[in-house]
Every structure is written in C-alpha cells, then in structure tokens.
Point group: C2
Chain length 273, copies 2
C-alpha cells in the first residue's frame, strides 16, 4: 500500500513540553492523564516512574503532582496547593491563556460563552475561572440559551475554526458587544488544514490518536467529509486489512497527543498491506 | 393594482428626532443634508426656513448650525465650536454610539475596522474619532488589508447583519482578539426583515426613498434577491406603468428617511394603476 503523511500531524508544542516536564519529574504523579494517549502514558510510567492518579485524593498521596496539559479546575489547584503538594504545572500555555481570559473578563462583567465539550477536562478547567459561563457544543445548543448584551466568546483550543466563526456571527446578531478571543491553537488548526488537503487526494485516511482526544476526533471528522473511508486507530493492532481493499493511496495523520513511535509503527504496518 | 405595505418601513427614531429638532430651530442651517430625502428637506425649508449648507464655510455664516442625522467629523465639529457657532446636534444617537466606541477603542490601542461605505458621511464622521481605522465595503476589500492582532469591528448603522457576521467570522480566524460592536440599528434591521418577508409574497416591490440613502439601497438589494422586479423611486413621478404589467401584488417599503406623505402618495398612485 502506498502511503502519504499529512504535511502537519502529531505532537504539538504543549504535548512535547508536558512530556519533557514529566521526564524531568520522575516518580511524580499526574492528576488525570497527562495527555490523551494511553501508550505514551504507559511509557512514561515504565521509563520514568510517572504514575497516573485519577482522583484528587489519590494525587495527594504524592509529593509532586503534575498538572496535565489540559489543565485542572481552579478549585482543584487550590486544594493541592493548600495541602502543601508541590504542583508542577504542565498545563499547555494555549490552555492557560483562555483560563486567564475567563478570569479577567468575568471580573469585567461579561457573560462568558465557551465553544467546547462540557465533559472535556480542558473546558471544565477553563470554565472554573469564571462566574457566568455557558458551555455550548454547537450553535443549536447556543440558541436555547439566555444570551446577555455583553458577551465574551472563546473556544476550546481544539475546536474547528469554521464552526467557531459561525457561532460568533450568530451571537453578533443578538448582542450589543461580542468580544471574541480566538483560542483555537495554531497546531490544531495546521493539522486540520493539512488533513483537509490530504483527504482530497487519498482514497483512505488513517487518523492515529487517542479515542478520547478531542483534536484527534476533529481530524477524523474533517477527513470523513472529503474521504468516506477514514478511520481512527490508537495503534497498529486496530488496523483492519478489509479497509484497504481496492485502495491506491492511504493518507496518514495523527492527533496532537500521538507520539512519533506509534505513528511510525502504524505507517510501517500499512506499507506492508 | 393590489398593494401591501411591509410590516415595518419608513421613518426611524433618529430621523423623526432630527426633523423635530429642525422644526424647533427655525431659520437655522444644516451642514449637509439633515436626512437623505430631498423632498423633506425642501419642506423644512419652505415651512420652517431651515436651509441647507453644503460647505463648512457656508454653514458658518449662520448663527445656528444643525448637525445632520449622520453626524459630521470631529474636526468639522471642532471648527464650528471654535468659531462661536451655536451647534444643534441632530446626530442620531445610534451614530453617536459608534463615534464613542471608535474614540475609546482607539485609545485602548485596537485597530479599528468599519464595515461601511468610505464615501458615506456617517462613516467619515465615525472614522474621524479614531487613529488606526480601516473602512471596508465588503470582505474582498478586507482581505487585501493588513490586519493586526487586536481588532475592533463595527458597522455603519445601515448595513446588513448577515454580511457583518461573515466579516466578523473571517476576522476571527485571522486575529487573536476581535471585539465586535453590533452598531447596526434596529430600525434598519426590522425594515430589512420586513421587506425580506414581503418580497417572498409580492411579484413587484417598490422601495420609496432617496437614491443616496444607504439603508434604502439595502432594502432594494434585499428585495431584488427574492423578487427580481424591485424598483427604487424617490416619488410617485418616477413610477413607470410598464413595470406593473401582468403583476398581481405590489409590495411597498420605504427607507428610514422617507416621510409618510411621500409613501402615501406613491401608494395611492400604484393603487390606481
């Protein structure tokens, strides 16, 4: 099988930074998964003794707690610090930015609207910094909400730029002032643009990444719109030979939390089909 | 001919207010046309002695100068006041609002973008209050401009809400912060919505208003998109019988500067066709 990698894919700045931090803090724990990639988390545990705590209580049994790339809530951070835990902040700077915006704009009396998934830890963390915060996954959800006259709109870092613009355009027609902060991270945007191009050319697309990773799921969605035969796999074992029948060119991309060694193993496997 | 008036049409709050001001300031002059309707200006001259000065020099030969609904530039206002002229401000409050926004936001270091017509007196007046102001008539013009990272977007009061939203959505994808002030006036918006509805039903639309009136031209454009046989007339004399051949229902709307007595005379004329 002939394969072609997207022009931009995989690890972003924030993920690379977090992994460096974890490797430099051996035997610490992360509160929640450091990044949305289970195999990389296992590697950090095996090679650096960095464990995963799924609850705040569990995390507090460690001396050093690493804050995940997606950030945590203001309240949880407060609890950790109050209990004398050494907090090592691996929150992606592109996530710290919306946290600070929400904090500042909430104080200035704006109603806050976050375009994002209310179950995603990044969004929960960002929202925790404000008082009057709405979280909407799409424009239909937004239309059911009570909208005030002065609004701040921001986005989960991994959302699609086009949908964000549509939400903004709708809000503008309803409010007097809409202050829009484009908090979609550039890496996400570039990976999205690259898979869009690739999916016009390839007749099958394989997206490598965690199934709970927001940006990975966005990549799949973008690919599918152009190329129906697009699939998301976490590793080479999930590839099915059936998918590749009668296909000529397989495009490959990967989410921002997917390490190169996993992408490489998937690529080699596909080439042998 | 059967006729139907749009649910909302004609005089807006700002125009009504300006005419009241003019009627209460007999023998004054207006610097530039008070409103974009020549016949109403002639009536104010005939009945109240309110004249029209087309230049600042001419206006300064009067004791009382009325500022037109569209406002004037900061510099012209300054000159009038410095020369001891009694300035009677008939600027529509919906125009004073964007003037104040430009003044404040320019001081806060934002690049200002006005969606509007650079030759329109309202836009020239609003733009004069800022330092770093771009005026764009559409998204194509905007795409050729140098866009900064922190922007304020506002609109000429009589522009279309949908186009404004599209411009905002494009800007959001390019900048870090876009602060959008919806300065499209409600009356304009309501007249636009009403003609949209009417043009789906009627097979000919007559828009009554000044040919240099921005909001009137917008109404014509909206009507034409649904109903090809849409025409703009300033008075009943401009109606052509030819237009009404084989038509069943004529919809009528009017710009925000069009007085009721002109609309009524056009309506009566059409009914007799």
């Amino acid at each position: 099988m002939k394969v072609k990698l997207a022009q931009k894919y995989g690890f972003c700045f924030g993920v690379k930074r977090a992994i460096d931090i974890a490797q430099n803090t051996p035997n610490a724990t992360t509160f929640g998964p450091l990044i949305h990639n289970e195999m990389e988390i296992q590697r950090l545990h095996r090679d650096y003794g960095v464990s995963l705590s799924n609850t705040l209580k569990e995390a507090q049994t460690y001396q050093n707690v690493i804050v995940r790339t997606h950030g945590i809530t203001k309240e949880d951070l407060h609890t950790l610090k109050e209990n004398g835990i050494n907090v090592v902040d691996a929150t992606c700077p592109f996530v710290t930015k919306p946290q600070n915006i929400v904090k500042k704009m909430s104080k200035e009396g704006y109603q806050l609207i976050i375009f994002g998934d209310k179950n995603h830890p990044e969004v929960q963390g960002v929202a925790s910094y404000g008082e009057d915060v709405l979280i909407v996954a799409n424009i239909d959800e937004l239309m059911k909400c009570n909208i005030k006259r002065r609004l701040v709109l921001l986005s989960q870092t991994t959302k699609q730029s086009e949908q964000f613009g549509k939400i903004a355009a709708w809000l503008i027609s309803k409010a007097s002032e809409v202050r829009v902060f484009n908090t979609i991270c550039n890496a996400t945007f570039e990976n999205q643009r690259a898979v869009l191009e690739l999916s016009k050319e390839a007749d099958i697309i394989i997206v490598v990444g965690g199934k709970n990773s927001s940006n990975t799921k966005q990549l799949l969605e973008i690919a599918k719109a152009q190329c129906v035969d697009s699939y998301l796999v976490e590793n080479k074992e999930e590839l099915e030979k059936e998918w590749f029948k009668h296909k000529k060119l397989c495009g490959i991309t990967a989410g921002a939390s997917t390490p190169d060694w996993i992408i490489e193993s998937v690529k080699v496997e596909i080439e042998q089909i």
